[in-house]
């Protein structure tokens, strides 16, 4: 499929990049790896007047592991994250999530920022113009109907990013820059929860880095997902888990974040003690939206959320046992 026409911009420094998005606002789309953006453009879901390639902004690259926090540039490739020994050691769920996004040919290109800021998806939206032209406009396309939940007054499209649940499990924040100002937002707060406009970002803002506080003490984490093809597919249900052991107690505070169950990842706190695993899995089930708008039936995906939650908790518990 051919790409629609656009003007191409390639800033070489941050000042120039911020100035471009400050000027063009909604008419410019930012391209990092291109794996998500170009597909959306090929489907004509978006037809931006300008495409700005941020691939040459060197200060958005790399991973910097400091004493108290770790900073990941939003242009860091997913393969770099999945392969980095220190990310694997300290932030295993994030490395696992990056690894599970897709095969290396994709993760060689795709970036952290692009993965985090991917749009919500729905099988009644992510289609070519040929299909969509025959359908009434849904909420996501500026209309008033929902094909996934008949009669619904809101959009049920699903956020299917892999990294976000893992980043939230580690309390990550992200830096949003625009001309003249910078703000830091927790990844949880980055999401609106609204499928039509999933992020709180302003049109002039650029996501430049992710900040991870380095966890202390004994802890472990894991990420598990359900998908059809291991080499490519978006999660149909996913869970990231962070577990830490405080004061040698057997009961350990646990943060469970589920993904692909609504327009934003959802945080479910609980106790990770094996006996309560069913309780947390039940909570995950209760928090998940089981809507028939992705590849597999909503009811099945909802059941599988509790399964991937248990798998992730078990993997994190095993990680703690290995480390102890």
């Amino acid at each position: 499929m051919r790409l629609p026409p656009f003007q191409y911009l390639e800033p070489t420094n941050m000042e120039e990049a911020l100035s471009i998005i400050g000027t063009h606002k909604d008419t410019v789309k930012i391209m990092a790896g291109g794996t998500d953006l170009l597909n959306r453009m090929k489907l004509r879901l978006i037809e931006p007047a300008f495409v700005m390639n941020i691939g040459r902004l060197r200060n958005m690259d790399g991973i910097d592991i400091g004493d108290t926090e770790t900073v990941i540039g939003s242009n860091a490739r997913l393969k770099e994250i999945a392969d980095a020994p220190l990310i694997h050691k300290r932030f295993r769920a994030i490395a696992e999530a990056a690894f599970q996004v897709a095969s290396p040919t994709i993760t060689n290109m795709a970036t952290v920022g692009g993965n985090l800021l991917q749009n919500t998806r729905c099988r009644y939206y992510d289609q070519s113009g040929m299909v969509l032209n025959g359908l009434e406009r849904c909420h996501k396309r500026g209309g008033t109907v929902c094909f996934a939940v008949k009669g619904s007054k809101r959009c049920f499209s699903v956020y299917q990013g892999d990294l976000a649940p893992a980043l939230i499990a580690f309390d990550a924040r992200c830096v949003l820059e625009k001309k003249g100002s910078t703000r830091t937002v927790s990844i949880t707060e980055l999401f609106t929860g609204n499928g039509v406009t999933p992020f709180v970002m302003e049109a002039e803002e650029l996501l430049t880095k992710i900040i991870l506080p380095n966890p202390e003490g004994i802890y472990s984490s894991a990420y598990r997902k359900l998908r059809l093809r291991g080499s490519i597919d978006y999660p149909l249900a996913s869970a990231a888990v962070f577990i830490s052991v405080k004061n040698g107690r057997k009961f350990t505070p646990c943060r469970v974040v589920i993904g692909a169950t609504g327009a934003a990842p959802r945080v479910i706190d609980g106790e990770s003690y094996e006996a309560d695993m069913e309780g947390i899995a039940k909570k995950a089930y209760d928090h998940a939206e089981g809507v028939d708008n992705l590849l597999m039936p909503g009811a099945y995906r909802r059941k599988m959320v509790s399964v991937v939650v248990k798998r992730a908790i078990q993997a994190a518990l095993d990680g703690i046992k290995e480390g102890m």
């Binding site: 794996t35 691939g55 095969s103 290396p104 290109m109």
Partner: protein, 159 residues
């Protein structure tokens, strides 16, 4: 319809410099096939799922259907045509032939380039590493066993 102007771009493909005038919305795949007539690189799904359009950018396998040609400037692009030396096949290509790792051949350019990049980075990969590396290259004919065998043979030979 958005406005768009043709632009002059310079690409380094298989160590040869090409000056091309093209639209910014042309993918690297389109430029390789339609402008440079390097038709070894195949288009299949066009959405990054199948891997038949795989080329190397600075030695790293990427999807040329999801890469803008204009954004590939300044990088070393290697296509399947860049692997053999004239009529002499590259050892990875030879291994695919010798192990019957080719049937219809549509996935082969991408598969071979992915295998070549893997062996450059990791000359002695395990079977799991081979399978992971080629997991983004879909083959409808061979069932992958012969392809894995071909790559393994190179690992064993240390080539």
């Amino acid at each position: 319809m958005n406005e768009m102007k043709k632009t002059a771009i310079t690409l380094n493909v298989n160590n040869e410099i090409f000056d091309i005038v093209t639209f910014p919305n042309q993918t690297l795949l389109e430029v390789l096939r339609d402008h440079l007539h390097l038709t070894g690189t195949k288009e299949s799904c066009g959405e990054g799922a199948c891997g038949s359009c795989t080329v190397l950018l600075n030695g790293v396998p990427v999807r040329s259907c999801l890469t803008l040609a204009i954004a590939a400037q300044g990088k070393e692009i290697t296509t399947i045509e860049g692997l053999s030396k004239g009529e002499k096949l590259h050892p990875v290509q030879e291994a695919f032939v010798n192990h019957h790792a080719i049937q219809c051949g549509f996935c082969s350019p991408g598969m071979i380039l992915t295998a070549y990049a893997l062996l450059k980075e990791n000359p002695n990969p395990t079977e799991a590493e081979i399978r992971r590396a080629i997991s983004g290259n879909v083959c409808r004919c061979t069932g992958y066993a012969k392809i894995v065998e071909a790559i393994k043979s190179l690992a064993e030979e240390g080539r």
